[in-house]
Symmetry: C2
Subunit: 348 residues, 2 copies
């Protein structure tokens, strides 16, 4: 009886067939934290004694967070999950399970020119990253939508008292970042240029530009950002950081969030910033989507130069909050300047 519903009159796979396909693919990744995955009214998760569950959600919308004519479906799938995993990393949590709600225009579940469907390629990118971090897809929802939307929920486990919060920074703490900054912003500029080239004028709506081999490395920080799960776990397990946040909206904006939640000020040394090769200082300060970790540590903590192969760079320090000076000061060779948040804000 069920098989009669696998293909609908329109010749497209219906919702139930799509879900059955996703369920089969998702079953390949397992995690002891998932007792019951896709297929019931809810998933069931279990924690070890003394653990808390960290939960984060991130909404991605076509035309806002990605473009069907710029981004390959695999990159959109990867970026969707990376946004959620990066929030877990910033709490120092171990991934347990992901949940994905997809709203898609019918053309994205159809077979175009007998090649694989858009949604299938989206899942390729999503599940490759899920497998790398051993986080099973344990549930979600699927609906027809005039615009493509993907809401990602990621859950993780963190031992009691070990979570990295935004609110723990204290005056005197030193300020660090993982990896490098501005890579995603410069990658986006290059992708924009690539998409605007003459030869693209007649390209179909769902055909992102082919990426020349020499540009692949420069576009990778934008298309395939790597969430810093291992680095967050390292910091949390050793209680090595006093506060942490992921840089999703840009260093200037996310450092302000951290300062506000901690009730402190900060100074950033421009010369110390690990600017991505090919990016500008402005991109490193304000460009979003780097998904690096920004964290504070007591002066005695002395984090290593690398954690799991990723460089750790000291970029400034935390100060007492004073009305007479800006919340964040940028130290430059031309003198001190207030660093105002210029990251992305919706509805602005």
């Amino acid at each position: 009886m069920h098989s009669a519903r696998q293909q609908t009159r329109s010749g497209r796979p219906g919702e139930l067939a799509l879900i059955a396909g996703i369920r089969a693919r998702a079953a390949r990744i397992s995690n002891t934290g998932v007792e019951l995955g896709i297929g019931d009214d809810c998933a069931l998760l279990r924690l070890r004694a003394g653990e808390k569950l960290a939960v984060t959600t991130d909404l991605s919308i076509a035309g806002r967070h990605f473009r069907l004519d710029w981004h390959a479906p695999e990159a959109i799938g990867h970026r969707t999950l990376a946004r959620g995993l990066s929030d877990l990393a910033a709490m120092g949590a171990r991934p347990v399970a992901a949940f994905l709600s997809l709203g898609l225009p019918p053309e994205l579940v159809q077979n175009l020119k007998a090649r694989r469907t858009w949604v299938s390629r989206f899942l390729d990118g999503f599940l490759a990253l899920a497998e790398a971090h051993r986080v099973p897809l344990a549930g979600g929802d699927l609906a027809e939508s005039p615009v493509a939307v993907a809401d990602i929920v990621v859950t993780g486990a963190v031992a009691h008292g070990k979570a990295l919060l935004r609110s723990g920074a204290r005056p005197g703490d030193l300020l660090y970042v993982t990896g490098s900054l501005g890579g995603a912003a410069q990658g986006l500029v290059r992708l924009d240029q690539l998409a605007r080239t003459k030869s693209r004028a007649r390209a179909p709506r769902l055909e992102p530009p082919r990426i020349p081999g020499k540009l692949e490395a420069l576009l990778a920080p934008h298309l395939y950002p790597q969430p810093r799960i291992a680095q967050g776990l390292w910091l949390a397990r050793r209680s090595a950081a006093t506060a942490a946040i992921d840089i999703s909206d840009g260093l200037s904006t996310d450092l302000q969030h951290l300062c506000e939640e901690s009730g402190v000020s900060a100074e950033v040394d421009a010369a110390a910033l690990p600017v991505y090769a090919g990016a500008s200082l402005e991109q490193a300060l304000h460009g979003g989507e780097d998904y690096e970790l920004l964290f504070t540590a007591a002066p005695t903590a002395q984090p290593p130069r690398r954690i799991s192969g990723v460089p750790i760079t000291r970029i400034g320090r935390i100060l007492r909050s004073r009305r007479t000076r800006p919340q964040i000061v940028l130290l430059t060779v031309d003198g001190d300047k207030p660093l105002t948040p210029e990251g992305w804000e919706h509805f602005s």
Copy 2:
């Protein structure tokens, strides 16, 4: 510094101001399961010893699950959360925390004619139901979107071995539903009629029809469905049900899901169905969004006539699955008929 970003140049509140407003309102509901709510990279939840966490997500999209010109914002907020809570009810879980991702066109966060914003009235409906079930809003996301979308995540706690699964029904079990069926479907038909009346032709896009007092009770099952949390908890704690599912897609479709996950067949007695006063048998069989619980129990279990004031009705029984008969049979005065799923399916 933060105050400078409360109002943007467009005169609309920006994302950060909106989140600050939601955070203040959400803080009024508390739950011991929420250790950390809105304001960090993740929320942190805690469980009691031996409990599992149930997680469900439901995506609602304007034009598919609701209409801005049909549904008051309060009803859309209520229905969004009710969808998630109903999945928890079907697992027999106690609500712990909700997470809400909202994608909204800018006009829905603006003040129309100096009255309250659409998003504020949406939250009125959402938070009233949240308060009734003591489920705090512990996180979420907010983004600009060309079409209004709301993805709800609800988490709940269930004691080890007590979860109501879809897969536990056994031949010989009896089949029950809570409340009545078809109420939401008949309410939707009446709302459609109301929205099509002549006087509405010139109504603005965001103005749902005024509901006459005499129609309020008939529209309530569609506009303000009540998730059966208390009934699900009662069944789970007493181990009184062998399987359960919520009727979101229609009795015929959801009974099929239950039968497939349990590997059984079922028969439904048409004369026994608790049809909502004013609804048809067809609406009771196939109409979605009733959010009642459909459950099975051993013949010896004998559930009470009411649980927390809501009637419990026996409507059929579970049979061994056989190739020679349809998976679900409807017993009627005109003889037995196969009952085929005719509920809603996306992409069909």
